[in-house]
């Protein structure tokens, strides 16, 4: 501890901290531009100059460490004069047309300049003009406004992991620029808008529409990945979301959000949004009032129940629904005797149901993961699945952690990777089995057929002293997920480490603990009646389906099965904010519910943090929050226990979640297993999804769809496979699964193993089979176009 005097006040501060840090802690404002608490210190703007007694010249508060007995004056004559001087320099080449600038009203330069009541300019020469740069569909530039604080450059380098912006040239010709002809393609790029203290970098989608003071600002939680970033959502006077900004939460998103969290809002008002209930009559859709629609839905449910039994009904929901919605829906359904309930739409293997000891989660807090010396991630394209977690892992790697990856593609995570194994996903379990064998034994697991590869040996060296193992979406979708997870459990024990799973969706743990699974009711209670899981429901063809917040043909593990099942069903009741063509053909009634921005609710993120939020705006048109719809539906069906008048009433039933830790548990019963080398003789599909196609809102967000990330090729194979199949980039290729085929252009990439075919999950592949199932490729002669 160090004792110093700040503007006459004696203060104790940690040694090594800077004057600015100490001042901020004391609630004292020192003007600054280049300093940003999450970035390295540049000390180049010189705005934060303060007077330090005994120093012959003013010192930059942001970079000057405090010392014992130091006497600092932040607003003495010397300090203010120095700051005013810097301000004058900043303004001589800066346009003074704040009223037309997009940053107007939220510009640090404007704020500070006003504070100094700057007089008429003494600068009479011509102002410098700087050409604008094309940074892509998300960020607009007005480079003449740039004050060269270099925050954006440091952000791309230090946080986003790859320096995409630079400061070119020198003297007063310095310019912030991307490499010529390149855009800023980071999945975190939008943050440079926030950190730019002036109007040089602004949001392209938001541009020129509003002034910040016309907007109200509401808290929310992101619905697009498992981290649960906190959001400040800005709403205009017509109750429309017009901008999304990060809300600082040091434990979760710090002061950042991913581009997905920031720009998905554009999808909220897509033309597919439905604002009135609809029922299908004589194969035509007609808009009806809520009473009619709900009566119709209730009648359909009752009808199927009477004719075919409650067992003939299946209930499926997207895990980006709120905990309250999911809880009410399963409660209603179970009361009706319907037990086939599931949120795990893209999962293929459910053999662990009933054998796991609690809700699967990260296995600790994020900090536990980031503190560990070695991390092993299996089956996750980290930057796409969890953009911010990936950034944090990069930071951990920079401070010495080792990162190891086992995945189906060679992902560039933009930091040093100690071991990276790119393999056919059928090999995941076999590789983990090798790691198990290298670190110990297990009485129930027969490893006699497992032989250790070189890459596995090298990986063991990294994780053997308490590594942290994490499984991502791709791992969780595998047809042998149970085997894989059990092996990981054993491995974690062998190495004295931890393991966990990442939620790809915002509320997987919420769904699990709300009882939205066939084998458990709320709070991990074992279900008395086991229903079918998501896969069985589609394989076995229910007579009726109730869908909440999902476009099942895109979200299901097996689109082909989903479309067949929904088409053949007698009744499909859909609760969704959006409608699409497929839905129009399989659904019978569509109830327009609101997305997360228009309802109160809560999500539980991948580490088990329960975050409640309110709607940031009114429901659009006649749409309604799902929890209200469910309540009325239950009343109409005369089911008791649905008297909730507010979200608080619903949460009263969820009060147990306040002690959530007791429900989170990754351990499981280990079954007897014999591990064999997988057979890779068939080609297998890798059904990946663009990171901007993960949910109904995101896939409709216009600007995100224009980014590089959104434009992943539909069909892609390795050059090795292309050679052996005698295919080149010009070949006409048909991909085929379950007898369903379609022709595609082909892309060739060396990031893939040779036994897989990447066939993306998107509109064009709707109707294809399982995401990680066998696939055929056929070449055609001639031009099909």
């Amino acid at each position: 501890m160090i004792e110093l005097e700040l503007d006459g006040k004696i203060i104790n501060a940690a040694s090594g901290s800077t004057i600015l840090e100490v001042a901020i802690k004391e609630g004292k404002y020192i003007p600054h531009f280049c300093y940003h608490k999450k970035l390295s210190i540049a000390a180049n703007c010189r705005m934060c100059l303060v007077e330090v007694e005994k120093s012959p010249k003013p010192l930059p508060a942001c970079a000057t460490p405090v010392t014992q007995g130091m006497k600092v004056h932040t607003c003495s004559k010397i300090a203010v004069e120095a700051q005013k001087g810097v301000m004058e320099f900043l303004l001589i080449n800066h346009p003074l047309d704040c009223p037309i600038c997009d940053q107007g009203g939220e510009c640090q330069l404007q704020d500070i300049a006003v504070g100094y009541g700057s007089s008429a300019s003494r600068y009479t020469e011509e102002k410098r003009a700087v050409t604008n740069k094309d940074l892509g569909p998300l960020v607009t530039t007005e480079m003449t406004r740039c004050i060269h604080c270099s925050r954006c450059v440091r952000f791309t380098d230090e946080i986003a992991g790859y320096q995409e912006l630079g400061m070119g040239y020198r003297n007063n010709h310095v310019e912030i620029m991307p490499f010529i002809g390149k855009t800023v393609d980071s999945e975190l790029s939008g943050n440079i808008i926030d950190i730019c203290p002036v109007g040089a970098l602004t949001s392209k989608p938001f541009r020129n529409q509003y002034r910040s003071w016309e907007l109200s600002r509401r808290k929310s939680v992101s619905a697009h990945d498992g981290l649960g970033s906190n959001l400040a959502v800005q709403v205009d006077k017509y109750h429309r979301v017009v901008r999304v900004l990060p809300l600082e939460n040091e434990e979760l998103n710090e002061c950042w959000i991913s581009d997905r969290d920031r720009f998905s809002y554009e999808g909220l008002y897509h033309e597919d949004r439905i604002t009135s209930p609809m029922i299908k009559q004589d194969n035509k859709w007609v808009n009806v009032d809520w009473e009619t629609a709900i009566a119709y839905a209730a009648k359909s449910i009752n009808g199927v129940k009477t004719d075919h039994g409650a067992d003939a009904i299946g209930v499926l929901a997207g895990a980006n629904s709120t905990t309250e919605e999911l809880y009410l829906l399963q409660k209603l359904m179970r009361k009706l005797g319907v037990y086939s309930i599931d949120y795990r739409l893209n999962q293929a293997d459910f053999t662990l149901d009933g054998k796991q000891h609690g809700a699967s989660y990260l296995g600790g807090k994020q900090t536990d993961l980031l503190k560990s010396k070695s991390i092993l991630v299996i089956g996750s394209i980290l930057r796409e699945e969890q953009p911010l977690l990936a950034a944090k892992i990069r930071k951990a790697v920079k401070s010495g952690a080792q990162l190891n990856l086992i995945n189906v593609i060679n992902e560039d995570v933009l930091c040093h990777v100690t071991n990276q194994i790119v393999c056919d996903p059928r090999e995941f379990a076999y590789i983990v089995a090798q790691l198990v064998k290298a670190t110990g034994t297990h009485s129930d697991i027969d490893l006699s057929n497992v032989s250790l590869s070189e890459s596995a040996t090298s990986l063991v060296n990294s994780i053997k002293d308490g590594g942290y193992i994490v499984l991502g979406e791709i791992a969780k979708m595998q047809p042998n997920y149970a085997e894989l997870l059990m092996l990981v459990d054993v491995l974690a024990k062998n190495i004295g480490g931890k393991f966990g799973v990442l939620s790809g969706k915002a509320n997987e743990i919420g769904a699990d603990l709300a009882g939205f699974v066939p084998h458990k009711t709320e709070f991990n209670h074992k279900a008395k009646n086991f229903g079918m899981n998501a896969r069985q429901m589609l394989e076995n063809g229910k007579k009726a389906y109730v869908l909440l917040n999902t476009e099942l043909e895109c979200d299901a593990y097996n689109s082909n099965l989903a479309l067949n099942a929904l088409t053949l069903a007698n009744t499909v009741i859909v609760m969704s904010p959006y409608v699409n063509e497929q839905m129009r053909s399989y659904a019978d009634v569509i109830l327009p519910i609101t997305p997360f921005t228009e309802t109160a609710g809560s999500f539980i993120n991948f580490e088990g943090t329960w975050q409640k939020f309110n709607g940031v705006t009114k429901p659009l048109g006649d749409s309604k929050p799902a929890w209200k719809v469910l309540r009325v539906l239950a009343n109409t069906l005369s089911v008791d226990g649905f008297e909730q008048n507010s979200i608080e009433d619903v949460r009263k039933e969820l009060i147990a979640l306040n002690d959530i830790a007791g429900y989170l548990n990754n351990s499981m019963d280990i079954s007897k297993m014999v591990i064999k080398k997988p057979d890779l003789s068939n080609l297998i599909r890798i059904g990946l999804q663009s990171m901007y196609n993960v949910d109904s809102i995101t896939r409709r967000a216009k600007s995100l769809q224009e980014t590089k990330q959104a434009k992943i090729p539909t069909l892609m194979i390795s050059s090795g496979l292309a050679d052996s199949l005698k295919i080149n980039a010009l070949s006409n290729i048909q991909a085929k699964q379950l007898g369903f085929g379609r022709k595609f252009d082909i892309a060739i990439s060396d990031t893939l193993p040779n036994t897989v075919v990447m066939l993306a999950v998107n509109n064009d592949t709707c109707g294809f089979g399982g995401r990680f199932e066998v696939i055929e490729l056929n070449t055609y002669l001639g031009n099909y176009k």
């Binding site: 790859y162 912006l165 630079g166 400061m167 620029m177 490499f179 390149k182």
Partner: protein, 157 residues
């Protein structure tokens, strides 16, 4: 984009620095690339960056910061004359003016036959030998009186 010889020179530069510090060789690598191509096009800068495995924008920063890199095409001979104060006092400005007249171009321009580009230089650290002219960055000519300039121009055909 670069000859085997240039790549070999770059590889040699790389051995000067610790293995994880490839970036240190960027200045030399850009110099070597410029010698081969005469100037640094964007493609060339990107190529060099990729060769050293660093983000292209970092190479661009370097190429635009240091004054001896040509980020635009130059004539066959780039003549840089130091006109800084110490040189000016010993004929630097006179030499520059003579060249301007003789070649019919200003600083920053190239003769229409593409032979000469004239640039104004800052202190080259040889003020005692003024006037000084540097030809194509690497050949320093001192005591450039009018006669010496004439002679030099004859050589540079």
């Amino acid at each position: 984009m670069l000859s085997q010889d240039s790549l070999k020179q770059i590889d040699k530069e790389l051995t000067k620095y610790p293995p994880e510090q490839n970036r240190s060789a960027i200045m030399a690598a850009l110099r070597i690339a410029q010698v081969e191509h005469g100037w640094l096009s964007n493609e060339l800068i990107k190529y060099v960056a990729n060769y050293l495995n660093i983000p292209p924008v970092q190479a661009l920063e370097v190429a635009t910061f240091y004054s001896m890199y040509n980020i635009e095409p130059v004539g066959k001979y780039k003549l840089v004359v130091c006109t800084n104060l110490p040189c000016a006092l010993s004929g630097g400005v006179n030499a520059a003016n003579y060249l301007k007249n003789k070649l019919g171009i200003n600083f920053g321009e190239t003769t229409s036959d593409g032979k000469y580009t004239l640039k104004e230089g800052e202190c080259m650290g040889v003020c005692g030998d003024a006037p000084v002219i540097i030809v194509n960055n690497h050949s320093l000519c001192s005591h450039m009186s009018i006669e010496a300039i004439e002679k030099k121009l004859m050589e540079l055909q």
